[in-house]
Symmetry: C2
Subunit: 120 residues, 2 copies
């Protein structure tokens, strides 16, 4: 099937909303549970998406060094980010319904060529 969009951005926004604050490596572990498709999300894509979200003002970050181990860049949603998540929800609600409709149509009876055989 190939190129299904992974919707990394909205999933990250949602995770940050739910968790309040988190960092890349931690988010990577929780992505599979919340992903919209079962395609794996690359760590590279994850980190770059977080960066881009910060550039656009949807999240803010700070370094956390007092938990031991390598430093963590801890992110949180900004108010703008919450609004952006809400926009995503609107869009995905619409797409979700379109897809459900698509599935119904795709499974509807016969093609135009072999129009309604197969009663019962």
């Amino acid at each position: 099937m190939g190129n299904l969009s992974r919707f990394v951005e909205p999933v990250l926004l949602l995770l940050l909303k739910q968790k309040g604050r988190s960092y890349g490596y931690d988010l990577a572990g929780e992505l599979p549970q919340h992903a919209l498709t079962d395609a794996e999300i690359e760590r590279a894509a994850l980190y770059r998406t977080l960066r881009q979200l910060e550039e656009n003002g949807n999240v803010a970050s700070e370094w956390e060094t007092d938990q031991g181990g390598p430093a963590r860049r801890v992110y949180r949603l900004t108010p703008q980010g919450e609004a952006h998540l809400e926009e995503w929800a609107t869009v995905l609600d619409h797409v979700s319904k379109s897809m459900a409709q698509f599935v119904v149509k795709a499974r509807a009876a016969g093609s135009a060529r072999s129009a309604r055989r197969k009663p019962r």
Copy 2:
């Protein structure tokens, strides 16, 4: 929001199933009614996707020159193409449900910050 996948391929497969046979320019006119997102689908993407579907054996084409005007490359679904559409339906059914769940979660009450504080 930017890069929402357009799902050109499954929509073309569905249109061809419904119409029996059709050609690029005609399909282009009907895409907006069946598209999964409201993002416009490029003509270039349309023609290239049809080509790729043919390369993979999901559609077959022949030239039609007896209708006046420029020649049309008329496509129809192959049996393999119908199976492929069914695969898409399965995948999109799943994605649709995941998205609906996402929307519910995204709109659920408050963020973790304002609800209860996390320990650790």
